[in-house]
């Protein structure tokens, strides 16, 4: 009897144990461990649209962290503000066997200011938590409920949140009133969702399981092309008393217009100033240029985004009074200045930054910035209103080469912002120098940079004092030991801007001397650093920026040397770009020419090996040396 009892107890204990261990790491399928730092064990997201004024997001997920690289994923943080409220947060920590170690106590949740670094003030706050466990593997589980008082923003479903992140199981359930249409855009989802109806509500569930980890990839396409993602968007929506419809871009444009309309009244003094500045000017281009300069001289970027203020611009009067505003306010101000001069322009939404393309067949709030477009007879002129130094009509890599949404009363459409490609983005350099008997080089380096190729330099010279630019130059060149003795910059501020840079540099031991030989690498300043590993490529690759570089170098060498080894000329062309370089000796001068073109575009994975060898050829050729020997 005693034995029996023990057995029963044991069985009971075992049962309990088993029921408490949904997260044992040993249960993870082997395929999900490959290349993974983190495995999402389960995720259940439920998004319910109660009305256009209220939606609720409920999300429960558990992540098993396999090693210390996964720790970042294990921390919890969630923003909230006037449009979004966090109703509850629960959490728990489990060890590798899936045994509960501890539950989250609400006093352990940190509540901190989440004000964006770019803003003077906004109303973001953030709730954060971290178990800081470090015996691997371990599992964190969080459950959060969020209430939105608007329907402008719908969440997206992204089971695989990161690189080196696999997914055992994830599901997304959408609950919407039966008469409300939710739009979606599906990437990489096989099959159809489960649809059911309960009490006048349509319930739709998508689910995935066993998504293997994706490794970090060079020149990878957008994340949604690699894994399952579903974006959701409203039809009818409202936010803070403003109503709209997102079914198509025109409707969304109308809505944004409703937020910004009647905010263009300028103070009398500014109106007069506009008249004064534009009096006597005949073309719209000239007027725009003058007024844009006025904007640049009288305003600067200061972000104050509270509540609907994150979406609605401060009026023109506010900017006139304070001399500042965020992108919305400043763009609206410029719009108002142009309006006062009788020029029609358009407030235009764009997703700024690098590689930020929007999904153009899915109308939704995908934008983070506003610029101004001014249609002229032939062309459209684009104005970036938050920058005090850009030339009128040039918007830089920040917003060029992408689609943007024009905002107007009747509803605008997506249009293309200016394109700058391989023909526009140039870096043309000429180096003329002399090497002395000790191998030291003095050289004059003249370079012309245009369009996107000049963006970095433009930012540098317009944001740093001359002393600091000098310090930067003294750090940046990849030369052994050198001094920049003199430098000048000349900017041509134009729709296609250009910077001319003249450097006077002295490089110690540029030529390496061993006994009677002199070694010179004629490619002084433009050596490619890209080298790829030849490995199996799963994904397409993408270059979103085309450019052309040309370098001409002439280096005078001390008398009495003759060539022992001259590098072969190299010519490589491929679908991604072209390269050629040539070296010869002319009298006592080493003459070198290099040309490199990079094309933008998307290329199939099967061509990756070609890219590897293209880069390798350039890498090698860029380091070729000329060997000279002293005669006699």
């Amino acid at each position: 009897m005693r034995y029996l009892l023990t057995a029963v107890t044991l069985a009971f204990v075992n049962f309990c144990y088993a029921s408490e261990t949904p997260y044992a790491a040993s249960a993870i399928p082997a395929a999900l461990l490959k290349d993974a730092n983190v495995v999402k064990r389960l995720e259940e997201v439920r998004f319910e649209i109660i009305s256009t004024g209220e939606t609720i997001l409920h999300r429960k997920y558990a992540l098993t962290v396999l090693n210390e690289n996964g720790n970042d994923n294990a921390s919890f943080s969630e923003y909230y503000d006037k449009l979004k409220q966090i109703k509850s947060i629960d959490g728990a920590l489990y060890d590798g066997n899936g045994k509960l170690i501890k539950r989250l106590k609400s006093k352990e949740i940190q509540d901190r200011s989440g004000v964006d670094n770019n803003d003077l003030m906004d109303d973001h706050r953030v709730k954060m938590h971290n178990f800081y466990y470090k015996e691997y593997p371990y599992t964190v589980e969080y459950e959060v409920e969020i209430q939105y008082n608007n329907s402008l923003f719908f969440p997206h479903w992204l089971p695989q949140e990161d690189e080196n992140f696999s997914v055992e199981k994830s599901s997304f359930t959408l609950v919407a009133p039966a008469n409300y249409v939710v739009r979606n855009k599906v990437f990489n989802y096989n099959g159809q969702p489960l649809v059911s109806t309960e009490k006048n509500k349509t319930v739709t569930t998508w689910q995935v399981s066993n998504l293997t980890a994706i490794k970090s990839t060079y020149a990878a396409p957008a994340w949604q092309e690699l894994t399952t993602v579903i974006f959701f968007g409203p039809t009818e929506f409202e936010i803070q008393g403003y109503k709209g419809n997102m079914s198509n871009w025109q409707e969304f444009s109308k809505f944004v217009y409703s937020l910004k309309k009647d905010r263009d009244a300028l103070p009398e003094a500014v109106k007069q100033k506009v008249q004064e500045l534009t009096a006597g000017l005949t073309t719209d281009q000239e007027k725009i240029k003058v007024l844009y300069q006025y904007l640049q001289q009288h305003t600067r970027y200061v972000g104050v985004q509270l509540g609907i203020g994150g979406w609605q611009p401060f009026d023109a009067n506010y900017v006139a009074q304070n001399g500042y505003g965020d992108c919305k306010a400043l763009t609206n101000y410029m719009y108002s200045l142009l309006k006062a001069a009788g020029i029609q322009s358009y407030y235009t939404l764009v997703n700024a930054g690098s590689r930020n393309r929007i999904i153009d067949d899915f109308p939704s709030q995908q934008f983070n910035h506003v610029i101004l477009s001014v249609p002229l007879q032939k062309d459209t002129m684009w104005l970036e209103c938050t920058n005090q130094t850009l030339p009128a009509g040039y918007v830089s890599d920040f917003t060029a080469n992408r689609k943007a949404l024009v905002i107007c009363e009747q509803g605008g459409t997506l249009v293309q912002t200016p394109r700058y490609g391989v023909k526009e983005n140039l870096q043309l350099r000429s180096v003329k120098g002399t090497v002395d008997e000790q191998g030291n080089l003095t050289a004059v380096v003249d370079t012309r940079y245009t369009a996107i190729r000049q963006d970095y330099l433009h930012d540098l010279i317009s944001s740093l004092s001359k002393d600091k630019v000098k310090e930067k130059l003294q750090e940046e060149l990849e030369l052994a030991t050198y001094n920049v003795n003199n430098f000048t910059y000349n900017e041509k501020k134009d729709v296609k801007p250009e910077i001319k840079e003249d450097l006077n540099i002295a490089v110690n031991n540029y030529a390496s001397i061993t006994g009677k030989r002199l070694f010179i690498t004629p490619n002084l300043l433009n050596r490619s650093s890209s080298k790829l590993n030849d490995e199996e490529r799963l994904y397409d690759f993408e270059f979103d920026y085309g450019y052309t570089d040309r370098d001409s170098v002439e280096i005078e060498i001390p008398a009495g040397y003759e060539p022992e080894a001259l590098p072969q000329d190299v010519v490589v062309s491929s679908e991604f770009g072209a390269y050629r370089c040539a070296t010869h000796l002319s009298g006592n001068k080493v003459v070198y020419y290099r040309e490199r073109e990079q094309y933008e575009g998307k290329f199939p994975a099967k061509d990756y090996a070609q890219l590897v060898s293209f880069y390798a050829a350039i890498y090698k050729a860029d380091r070729n040396r000329v060997v000279l020997v002293k005669k006699g």
């Binding site: 090693n67 210390e68 690289n69 501890k102 940190q110 509540d111 901190r112 200011s113 003077l120 003030m121 178990f131 800081y132 466990y133 470090k134 015996e135 001289q297 009288h298 600067r300 200061v302 104050v304 009074q321 304070n322 001399g323 500042y324 005090q388 130094t389 191998g439 317009s462 944001s463 740093l464 004092s465 001359k466 002393d467 600091k468 310090e471 003294q474 750090e475 990849e478 030369l479 052994a480 030991t481 001094n483 110690n508 031991n509 390496s512 001397i513 061993t514 006994g515 009677k516 030989r517 070694f519 080298k531 590993n533 022992e564 080894a565 390798a616 090698k620 380091r623 040396r625 060997v627």
Partner: protein, 666 residues
């Protein structure tokens, strides 16, 4: 002649003016002030602080004690768009319990020149934002309205602070040059503050006055009729002024700029008559005694801590000697506890709770380590120190704010070991190099003073390469690299984070075409006290060229001078002293003969022999041997030594880039 005189007079007047305080009356701005485009102090400045004047004054408060009244008045000339950042202002505020810092009023005005006239734009109250950063910290923020190139902005505010322990420090220097930086304190005789000043700039004025004063203290917190107590005593008024202070400059190889800026700071040391005499800051032993007794530091270390027994048993296992035990306990704490904050000297939770949650600040983790060692009858004490990113600690004064880090000193068999269990892969008896930042203090009865200096950290790297001909006409080789200790630590981190495959891939990229590497193997990867040794072999496919140019330093040499700037303002403070040896032994490739070898050199860094570099090449029959040794004897160099340091490395780079030339035998 007349003209000349005027100029001379003007010049004279200017210099006279410059001797005196600026007219700092709020709003007193002239068109001439606004017309100025460039200042002699720094012709490339984006903004110039015309004056920055602050004062801290002790006043009686209505809570039965004393408060500080801190005022600040600052005027800045914004010269161009890059200076717009100086139009943003923020005032940090702190609160704890009932004590708080409160802003009395903020006055801020922008001045512009319009049609020859000075216009004023006042900051509207709605433009002042209060941001609650976390429970105890908040800040008031605003930006000046109507700022343009050439605007002058001016603001003034007063903060009332209940934290009378904390007499605000003053920075005379900042990122923009300052024409006039002035700080005043007014302190009654019964509060003694010690003044600590640092930096290289001289004071233009340093003035001390005494005057009679009356301090009124009320207590309105009780419901009874409050009574005002008046104290008549002497007030000490001190004034510091610096003039024409250049901007601070960021430089590489600096521990922290905060050690170099001109600053005064204070520490409350005692109450005296007419208050009841009380020492606040006593001797070092007083301070460590207090620390040992305080709940948020050492109190728990003096307990029996029986709750640790099981953990110690688990950690120690069968270890018999104190040394073995200490190592096991160190490893246990290091491997099982996460450090959540690397800047802490006070605990915010009990050690028991640290133990339970398995996480804590560097202070908490290392105090737990200390507690476990003590419980195992090993002599162990906490050590306070200041890391390189933090200003130096004072050796003389027990000023806690100067410390930011806690480690543990264990005395085993009569020898002291310094332990830090907060880093995942640090070895027993090793401290991160960030800890080598001068004065430190053992929290024991004697308050033993310690000194951790970067000069004492030798980072020794040894690389040897052997290349020979094999019987198949190939050139084969092997490389052995023993990394310096800190390089070993980062290598361990890298391998852990990215894996050996990724390391191998990157290594292959460093070699030029024609080199085939085997995957490297590593020794001592998990023996955290020791440096890591890496080994790999390779073969080189010889092209059948008539001439082979061979870089004998392989991938190991210096390619660029680490000291890039042409000039230097603050000392070079390297984290440790490099000692790098590279040797190559190679056979001349079959079928070739040596045409040229680099020349040997041997140089000293300076006459005091603070460093040396030798590059020796020899040939004996078919064997070439090369040895490069670079060794410095100290880690800190003064700005006036910078030129020869840079020159020295210039030579190193130049030698490291030389080639061996082989020619095909005819």
């Amino acid at each position: 002649m007349k003209k000349l005189l005027t100029i001379a007079l003007l010049y004279c007047a200017n210099t006279l003016n410059a001797q005196e305080a600026p007219n700092s009356k709020f709003g007193k701005i002239s068109p001439e002030d606004l017309q100025k485009k460039v200042y002699a102090i720094d012709s490339s400045a984006d903004a110039v602080v015309l004056f920055d004047i602050g004062s801290s004054e002790i006043v009686g408060n209505s809570k039965g004690w004393f408060s500080f009244e801190y005022t600040r008045h600052k005027r800045i000339h914004i010269l161009n768009k890059n200076g717009y950042a100086y139009a943003d202002a923020e005032i940090p505020l702190y609160n704890e319990g009932n004590d708080q810092e409160k802003i009395q009023n903020i006055k801020a005005v922008t001045y512009n020149l319009e049609n020859g006239k000075v216009t004023e734009t006042k900051l509207d109250k709605s433009g002042i934002f209060n941001e609650q950063i976390d429970k105890k910290h908040s800040r008031s923020k605003f930006t000046f309205p109507n700022v343009k190139e050439g605007s002058i902005v001016e603001y003034e505010y007063k903060v009332l602070s209940d934290f009378y322990f904390n007499l605000e420090p003053w920075d005379f220097q900042g990122s923009a040059p300052r024409l006039w930086s002035e700080y005043k304190t007014a302190i009654p005789q019964f509060f003694n503050y010690i003044t600590l000043s640092q930096g290289y700039r001289p004071f233009f004025i340093k003035d001390h006055k005494e005057k009679p004063a009356i301090f009124n203290v009320k207590d309105e917190r009780t419901t009874e009729q409050s009574e005002t107590t008046s104290i008549s005593c002497t007030e000490y008024d001190t004034r510091w002024v610096m003039k024409d202070v250049p901007a601070l400059k960021e430089e590489n190889y600096t521990s922290t700029l905060e050690n170099h800026l001109s600053r005064v700071e204070f520490q409350l040391s005692a109450y005296t008559y007419p208050l009841v005499d009380k020492k606040i800051m006593g001797s070092w032993p007083d301070a460590t005694k207090e620390l040992m007794e305080s709940d948020d530091f050492g109190n728990e270390l003096t307990n029996n801590n029986a709750w640790l027994s099981d953990a110690i048993k688990e950690a120690v296992g069968s270890a018999a000697t104190d040394m073995e035990k200490a190592r096991k306990i160190y490893g246990y704490v290091r491997d099982n506890f996460s450090c959540t904050n690397y800047m802490a000297i006070r605990t915010q939770q009990t050690l028991k709770n640290v133990f339970k949650t398995r996480k804590g600040s560097v202070a908490e983790v290392n105090l737990l380590l200390t507690a476990m060692l003590k419980r195992s009858n090993i002599i162990a004490d906490p050590v306070l120190l200041s890391t390189r990113s933090h200003p130096f600690a004072y050796e003389v004064y027990p000023i806690m704010a100067r410390f930011n880090y806690v480690v543990c000193q264990a005395n085993i068999d009569g020898k002291n070991y310094y332990l830090d269990a907060s880093h995942d892969r640090l070895g027993f008896g090793k401290l991160p190099y960030e800890c080598y930042n001068g004065s430190a203090r053992v929290v024991n009865e004697a308050a033993t003073s310690l000194y951790f200096i970067s000069d004492s950290l030798k980072e020794q790297t040894n690389t040897s390469v052997i290349i020979a001909n094999d019987d198949k006409g190939k050139w084969i080789g092997s490389l052995n690299n023993t990394f310096g200790y800190y390089a070993s630590c980062s290598l361990r981190d890298e391998l852990k984070e990215k894996g050996e495959d990724s390391y191998y891939k990157n290594l292959k990229k460093e070699y030029s075409e024609g080199f085939e590497l085997e995957k490297p193997t590593f020794d001592s990867l998990s023996r955290y006290e020791d440096p890591v040794t890496m080994h790999y072999s390779f073969d080189i496919s010889k092209a059948h060229d008539d001439i082979i140019y061979f870089s004998p330093m392989m991938t190991e040499g210096y390619k660029q001078n680490p000291f890039k700037s042409a000039e230097r303002f603050y000392p070079v403070e390297m984290p440790y002293v490099p000692d790098q040896t590279y040797t190559l032994t190679m056979e001349v490739p079959d079928g070739y003969e040596v045409d040229e070898l680099p020349k040997s050199v041997r140089v000293k860094l300076n006459e005091d022999n603070d460093g040396m570099f030798e590059y020796l090449v020899a040939r004996s029959g078919n064997i070439i041997s090369l040895r490069s040794k670079l060794k410095l004897n100290r880690a800190i160099f003064q700005p006036d030594e910078y030129n020869y340091l840079r020159e020295f490395f210039n030579l190193v780079v130049s030698k490291h880039n030389e080639q061996i030339v082989f020619k095909k035998k005819k």
